[in-house]
């Protein structure tokens, strides 16, 4: 166990995986000599050399296309996309190739690539260094999607991702890269996919969130507690596979739900979770499900602090939900 930040935990996870298995390699822009623009890959090239820590030309198409080829051959590439906002030149390789290789080849060609990308707002990055577009990937059959919110989960989910047999999109909440700190187990620590984490138990309503929205959700729950409102906060951890059972069970208990994410609301991940609850927890629901999300505009720069969901907005939505029904 050692205390570290979330980005350090990612770095530890990468070191661990590369130590465990010589087939694991890292590629991306500035991941080698520079150690990654957020330092997530810092030190890897010194330890494992340029053969396994590959600085690539400026082409996401090339990064993911070659990673797919490596994976088909039997290596375990971990590709970094510098910001999730820059993943789109690789979108064809991801949705048409990576996600479908196993299926379309009748199971002959598994294709196990982990794609790491910092996502989300709160770093004054403007429209192109702030977006949260996890819903695109969740809607793409064949991809798993993991989003840690704590250093321990960052390492544990990353190691699970690297040892999985399927492609995994691993989105890192850059806003809390350095502010989220905590104890992280040493060695081969793994957190299973598809198991939500109860951040805080509660009786009156359920707040669902993930990644950088866990801190404001927890803060809101703490504020609500002062007024005797007991909110359960659930960190979904992996969106695919989703722990639907935990989500439904929580709402069966509380009867009320607020879903939180940074991404734009329309067709965001929150829509799916609402739809699941409206179907499977229908008879338990005492009030409409509210979503606290980014707005349906592109991500702004100067106004990011009013665009992003904060604890006060989550708290207000929770109070509104409590007043209904």
């Amino acid at each position: 166990m050692s205390e570290m930040t979330l980005v350090q935990a990612v770095n530890r996870g990468l070191f661990e995986a590369m130590k465990q298995d010589p087939d694991v390699l890292v590629l991306g822009e500035d991941v080698g000599v520079d150690g990654g623009v957020f330092r997530a890959t810092d030190g890897l090239i010194k330890e494992y050399g340029a053969e396994r820590v590959i600085d690539t030309p400026l082409s996401e198409t090339g990064i993911i296309g070659t990673a797919v080829g490596m994976a088909l051959y039997g290596l375990k590439p971990v590709a970094e996309i510098q910001f999730l906002d820059f993943i789109y030149p690789a979108f064809d390789q991801i949705v048409s190739e990576l996600a479908k290789f196993r299926f379309r080849s009748g199971g002959q060609y598994p294709c196990h690539v982990v794609i790491r990308a910092p996502y989300g707002g709160g770093i004054k990055g403007g429209v192109y260094h702030s977006q949260s577009t996890e819903a695109y990937f969740c809607h793409t059959a064949g991809l798993k999607v993991a989003i840690p919110s704590t250093p321990a989960d960052a390492k544990g989910l990353l190691l699970t991702a690297i040892h999985d047999e399927d492609p995994v999109m691993f989105f890192e909440p850059k806003r809390i890269y350095r502010t989220a700190t905590g104890e992280v187990p040493d060695g081969d620590y793994r957190v299973p996919f598809g198991q939500a984490r109860t951040v805080r138990e509660g009786e009156h309503l359920s707040i669902f969130a993930y990644g950088a929205m866990i801190p404001p959700a927890s803060e809101a729950a703490a504020a609500l507690a002062k007024d005797g409102i007991s909110a359960e906060v659930i960190d979904l951890r992996t969106l695919v596979p989703l722990d639907e059972a935990a989500a439904v069970a929580s709402v069966e208990k509380t009867g009320r739900a607020v879903v939180v994410h940074e991404a734009a609301r329309f067709c965001g991940f929150g829509a799916e979770l609402s739809a699941i609850l409206a179907e499977k927890a229908f008879y338990s629901l005492k009030a409409p499900i509210l979503r606290v999300t980014g707005y349906d505009t592109p991500f702004p720069y100067a106004l990011e602090n009013v665009y992003l969901p904060n604890a006060a907005r989550i708290e207000a939505a929770a109070r509104a939900v409590m007043q209904e029904g």
Binding site: G69, S96, R104
Partner: protein, 359 residues
């Protein structure tokens, strides 16, 4: 050796890799088989016995000349028109036919349109429809080969149209930077559906595009198995010697429609086609083999007979195979089904049972 990109294409002059008559005969046999399959499948499609077909007639010398210069351990990253490569790799036509039908013995489990097959045990990676995506993948596999330090190459196949794709650019560039053992084999068949080669790009040759990535490109007459074989064998030797990738532009012509959905009369003249048919690669090799005495009338008719029989028997067997089990739909999205897929599968099974869904 094939000529450098800058000059006009010609039949390769001093070929440095000679082919024995035996080998030429076996190449000829596969070319004949490929052509016969093409003709038969076009008619199966018209009869509604298969849903779609992509012919490769006209491109046999390029494909089989190339395939013969590779070794079985080399990885093929194909497009959808590479039947000659698969056949040379000893994929039985029956296996192709299974794929065209999508029956229970189809190796890709009815997941893809005809011609998008995949045979892992033949190192023949899965073809996909999106143009060009296999190119970066071939480079990635070559990077893996470098990492494993094994004497193999990857060969990727694509058309003139694919040189405009993102993956061509990225794949060529990565290959140049990492000097990967990759053969970029472009079959310039003069058309990308209705777009002629000279509207695809303004460069004089496609091979010269390699200059942009710091390695060499060569143009070969793709109707000449010798020229193609030589260019590929040379590229393979260079790749194994650590000298990096090569782009080969094999100039050919697509005799048939782009696919069974296409009507080429809308965009090209019969005269144009007839002109190129005079350079039919099969006639050309037949002529050569006859002249050298390697191919007698008797061998020819035996060969034609054998090919016909193989085709008919394979079609019959494939058509007789059981249909695909609908429950296979829920396999292979992931290695293990997620709870959601289990749930959907259970729903699907119930709907099948209730007759709501009918296979």
């Amino acid at each position: 050796m094939a000529k450098a990109a800058q000059s006009a294409p010609t039949v390769a002059p001093g070929v440095s890799h000679a082919l024995s008559n035996d080998r030429l005969l076996s190449m000829y046999r596969v070319m004949v088989l490929a052509r016969a399959i093409d003709e038969r499948c076009l008619s199966l499609q018209r009869q509604g016995r298969i849903g779609f077909y992509v012919p490769a007639s006209g491109q046999e010398a390029a494909q089989i000349g190339c395939a013969a210069a590779l070794r079985d351990e080399d990885w093929i990253f194909p497009a959808y028109r590479e039947i000659g490569i698969a056949l040379w790799r000893k994929v039985p036509f029956r296996a192709l036919m299974d794929q065209f039908i999508g029956n229970s013995t189809d190796r890709v489990k009815g997941r893809q349109m005809p011609n998008h097959y995949s045979f892992r045990d033949h190192n023949f990676v899965s073809a996909s429809s999106p143009i060009g995506t296999q190119i970066t993948q071939a480079v990635g596999a070559a990077m893996a080969i470098q990492r494993r330090h094994v004497p193999q190459v990857t060969a990727t196949f694509f058309g003139d149209g694919a040189t405009s794709s993102n993956d061509f650019h990225a794949g060529m560039n990565f290959a140049g930077v990492y000097r990967t053992p990759t053969i970029f084999f472009c079959q310039n068949n003069q058309w990308a559906i209705s777009l002629p080669r000279n509207r695809q790009t303004h460069s004089a040759t496609l091979a010269q595009k390699a200059e942009a990535y710091g390695f060499s490109g060569v143009v070969v007459d793709g109707t000449d198995v010798h020229a193609v074989y030589d260019a590929v064998a040379t590229a393979r030797e260079r790749a194994l010697a650590g000298e990096g990738p090569t782009l080969i532009e094999a100039q050919v012509y697509r005799f048939g429609p782009h696919s069974t959905s296409d009507d080429p009369h809308r965009y090209r003249s019969d005269a144009d086609v007839a002109e190129w048919k005079r350079k039919d690669p099969i006639l050309r090799l037949r002529e050569e083999l006859r002249t050298s005495g390697a191919l007698s009338d008797e061998t020819e008719s035996q060969l034609q007979e054998a090919v016909k029989r193989e085709i008919s028997e394979s079609i019959e067997a494939a058509e007789g195979a059981p249909a695909l089990d609908p429950m296979t739909l829920f396999d292979d999205t992931f290695a293990q089904r997620t709870p959601r897929l289990e749930e959907e599968r259970a729903e699907f099974q119930r709907l099948l049972r209730e007759g709501v869904i009918r296979p």
